[in-house]
């Protein structure tokens, strides 16, 4: 679909980027497979929500960010988080509720953030993180910083919330370097597109609020890398907020508690797995050789195994040592000259 609201600039993509993407996708998939296994072993409390099918677009977008850029991933952005610098160790410490993790057992799993890496910890209320990224960008702008970008991820469900609408409008008014990634993965839990939105194309939402819009196929590595690169560059150079709609398919249930039995067979045939398809194409194009995948997988597997063992041995939080305060410094309330 090429409509007038789309920006179509397509910067070139390098083999280096493709290889980095291939590695991130594999790491993400294998880490999540291990997390699902740990969940089924009863080692992970709460819910596990996976990004199967999102790896390519998620990583391709986040790869465009600098370390100082702000990133607000959503629940299916394991690959993007790895691209932004999270390690398997960081991820598993949070999933396994360890005191050593960034959330120290106080929050878990997909809510995790790491402010050292400028990854904001999401709240569950969809659409709410967009305004927070706006705030981070405004703070930087007021502090005199330039050339920064903030990327916020949302789905085709979340982009239709009031919070998202307010924030898109806000970003456009403040002309903030925000890049919003709308991953339309065909299902909002079990709700299909026809009950999620009624406009012809979600990309229409961008210009409606004053954002530049782009679209890309989430299974097309070059398209994703190129589109994200263009949008991030535009935002970084003062073109104002950008919106990318990525067309993907969630290749699992909503969470590991959901078998996704309601999902259409036909859709699954239309959307091949992004990892399998890309690796096959890159093998054919000669970017990778026949051993590449095996070597990668074995290295990743060994690494994950050692990390799991390490994290399981790390301390869990204790209610006896927990500080039990929601204020950073309650004492300051009782000091006169605050």
């Amino acid at each position: 679909m090429m409509t007038s609201h789309h920006s179509v600039d397509r910067p070139p993509v390098s083999d280096e980027q493709r290889l980095q993407l291939a590695e991130l996708m594999l790491r993400s998939r294998m880490l999540e497979q291990r997390i699902a296994a740990l969940y089924r072993q009863g080692r992970i409390a709460g819910g596990v929500y996976l990004g199967y099918g999102h790896e390519l677009s998620s990583a391709a977008c986040a790869m465009q960010l600098e370390p100082s850029d702000v990133y607000a991933p959503l629940i299916r952005d394991m690959a993007g988080r790895l691209a932004k610098g999270e390690t398997e160790l960081d991820v598993l410490r949070v999933y396994l509720g360890r005191e050593t993790g960034t959330m120290r057992g106080r929050d878990g799993n997909i809510h995790r953030g790491d402010l050292r890496l400028n990854i904001l910890p999401m709240i569950s209320h969809l659409g709410s993180m967009l305004a927070a990224v706006n705030g981070a960008l405004l703070a930087k702008k007021l502090a005199g910083e330039t050339g920064m970008v903030g990327m916020a991820c949302v789905g085709e469900g979340g982009i239709s919330t009031g919070a998202a609408s307010e924030a898109l409008n806000q970003a456009a008014i403040e002309h903030l370097p925000l890049v919003v990634i709308v991953s339309n993965n065909q299902y909002a839990y079990s709700t299909t597109n026809d009950k999620s939105f009624a406009c012809e194309d979600l990309a229409l939402r961008g210009p409606a609020f004053g954002l530049q819009s782009r679209s890309c196929n989430g299974n097309d590595a070059d398209a994703c890398l190129s589109t994200a690169q263009a949008a991030v560059a535009a935002a970084r150079t003062g073109a104002g907020p950008q919106l990318i709609v990525v067309d993907v398919l969630r290749r699992c249930g909503h969470g590991e508690h959901d078998d996704g039995a309601y999902m259409s067979q036909e859709l699954q045939e239309n959307y091949p797995d992004c990892i399998t398809a890309s690796l096959a194409a890159w093998l054919e194009s000669g970017l990778i050789d026949a051993e590449w995948e095996t070597t990668q997988r074995s290295g990743i597997e060994t690494h994950i195994q050692s990390i799991v063992e390490q994290v399981l041995a790390e301390p869990e939080p204790s209610p006896h040592t927990e500080e039990w305060t929601a204020l950073s410094n309650p004492g300051q309330l009782y000091e006169v000259n605050l």
């Binding site: 709410s128 305004a131 927070a132 009031g162 919070a163 309330l333």
Partner: protein, 343 residues
Amino acid sequence: MAGVTAEQLAASVGTTTYLDALRQAMFDALAQWPEAFIYGQDVEDPFGGAFKATKGLSTAYPERVRNAPICEDAMAGLAVGAAIYGARPILEFQFSDFASIAFNQLVNHAATTFYRTGKPCPLVVRLPMGGTAGGGPFHCQSPEAWLTYHPGLIVVAPSSVFDAYHMLKQSIACDDPVMFCENKLLYFHEKEVSEAGKSLNESTPQLPLGKAAVVREGDACTVVAYSGMVKEVMEAAERLSTRNGILVEVIDLRCLKPLDMQTIYDSLARTGRLVMVNEAWSYGGVGAQVISQVTQHAFHLLDAPPRRVSALETPIPYHPELWRSHRPHARRIVQAIIETVQY
């Protein structure tokens, strides 16, 4: 109002009103903390805010006083993100009633950020609350109860000109999110003639943000109030003193979360009787919390059942006569005190 100074702001009227104090506090805060900024609907000059609380400030600090579109949720969300990134945002909601739109960002985002991440979230939300005649159901509410409910938010409610100034500055300096409840009726009616040659920004705060104040001493009954109700209670106390010879002790809570219960217990040790007055509805409110703490921790001090005076249990009526009866007023407070003292 180019190059406006705090002195000019204060001197623009002969006396300093509660609203002047807020404006001056923000002016001084913008000067003191470069990371502070104001964000709200219509806050920029020449308009200067629905109540003119920010008049002159955008002229002095054009980048740091910013008009927001109508989006309380995104305003609060922006404040959270900015606070995490080192700013000290000061939000102005035109009416505290609209805080309901920002409810999610305030209670789920601002309130949880420090606990979840260990990163302080210093932001202030200015909430003009409480009644004015004719304001009706959507411009008169007092939302402090549901804000105090959530761990991670500090909720304050100054009742005097002096406190409006110092508590706002203390709130801006505070490293945790502060819900700053202002009272619209006090904006213009609460005035203070400044001491000769001494303006608010030359004065020093007498109390830290979290402490309650005994604003009138007495031995017959402790009356706890905050925000606009302090004025009503002081009026009731004066009547009781001159007409009935009943001397009540009045406590201005000032900080609603966390509560300074010690000041209340100390007072109850003198009086043994408690009347709790809040302009808000009673169910699950600040008064309920005060009384629950008192019965749990100071039961032995009570010589009469604690009593509450609150708004009546309907939405806030539009007609001024209905409104006047709906909210607690001096006569109802007098009655509750007498019933408590006579028990």
